[in-house]
Symmetry: C2
Subunit: 200 residues, 2 copies
DNA sequence: TACTTTTGCTAACGCTGTTAGGTAATATAG
DNA sequence: CTATATTACCTAACAGCGTTAGCAAAAGTA
């Protein structure tokens, strides 16, 4: 009697249709706009059915996040295979990671919870340019005194700020508890690397 | 007749009390839990009053974001003043930025929209450790072949991932349009810096 | 055929951002 | 000092959200 098998199969089908619909909505309107009711309408079931398959909305997002990491992982594996030289592998994986992020923006944003109130909020903050200038000057000075005086200070500023932000946000995600000495090393590693990168 | 002045002053007072209450709530419960109704209750006014001072909820968050950047800016200015040597300035500002982020977590999270569904979501993703191992191996290889064989591969992995994430998220925030060549330079800059940082 | 389990629904609870419309207090003009 | 205009403020609602209780119908089992 394949009845239970069929039932399991049907349940599985609903589950995957929920994920599919959710993903469609995320792509179309961003994960901010994702709602249980919209998913229910898309799969042509009533709302409570969704709760037979997922504990809550977060569980759905979590599943999409996992999907994203699996895809990313596959990409990285592919990239790594292209060479057996460690530095080439690292390089290829970095590019691959980068490409994944921009070719699968929706995934990356779900994975890291990016894109809050509105991403363009940044452009409404004049204070931002103020402190850009603040960091820009010493970078220019450093470039002027370096071996490569043709280096682009704006690029360096952008890199500086971005990397620092990355270090902080990953640390905040992991809710770093009692890892003070690790943090000290991380940021020290970053600063010395950045400065020596300019000096050439 | 200082009547209009008094009225302006009173309006200003309500406005700042809104921001104050909002900030209090953000600190206590995180910006996810911030709601117009809670603010209204806190300032002991009805809900629509808030809309006399701010166009919408986002405008309130934006104001808090601006506050955050102003405070951060002041910190950076202070840090910069401690030296006149460019690299010392950059170093001091990096540390200052880092400290600001962790001493003012709430601000930093509002500023960059951090902390989505739940920050601990990351710990529920086994896929994460899979691809950690993926990147870890070539890093270990590279360290083994470098001048500093005592370097911590986990630290390097952490740094690698964090920086890359920072570059990507800042780029996504700025909604990078037609800046392909800039992106190419940014990531190239990062990779070469990272690898040469390990090689020593 | 009678009973049990599964399946799916309606309707509600308590939130959310936002706004329409009305009332009461205040300020201005005659 | 009264009448008018303005401002300040509130109640109540709309439309949406995540989540769940409780019930009806269908499907499977005996």
């Amino acid at each position: 009697m394949g009845i239970v098998e069929r039932k399991i199969r049907q349940k599985e089908e609903i589950r995957s249709s929920i994920l599919k619909a959710a993903w469609q909505l995320v792509i179309e309107e961003g994960w901010q706009a994702l709602s249980i009711r919209k998913i229910a309408e898309a799969i042509e079931y009533s709302v409570p059915v969704i709760y037979d398959h997922f504990a809550n909305k977060e569980a759905i997002l979590l599943e999409l996040t996992k999907q994203g990491f699996r895809i990313l992982n596959d990409e990285l594996v592919k990239a790594k295979k292209r060479s057996s030289i460690p530095e080439k592998q690292i390089e290829a994986m970095a590019y691959s990671y980068w490409e994944f992020a921009f070719e699968n923006k929706a995934y990356y944003q779900v994975m890291y919870g990016l894109g809050m109130p509105s991403c363009e909020i940044v452009n409404q903050i004049p204070e931002l340019s103020t402190f850009s200038a603040l960091i820009l000057q010493p970078i220019k000075d450093l470039i002027a005194a370096s071996k490569n005086t043709a280096a682009d200070p704006f690029l360096k500023l952008h890199t500086f700020w971005s990397m620092l932000h990355g270090l902080i946000s990953i640390n905040m995600m992991n809710n770093n508890q009692g890892k003070e000495e690790l943090n000290q090393m991380v940021i020290h590693d970053f600063i010395t690397g950045f400065i020596s990168g300019i000096k050439g």
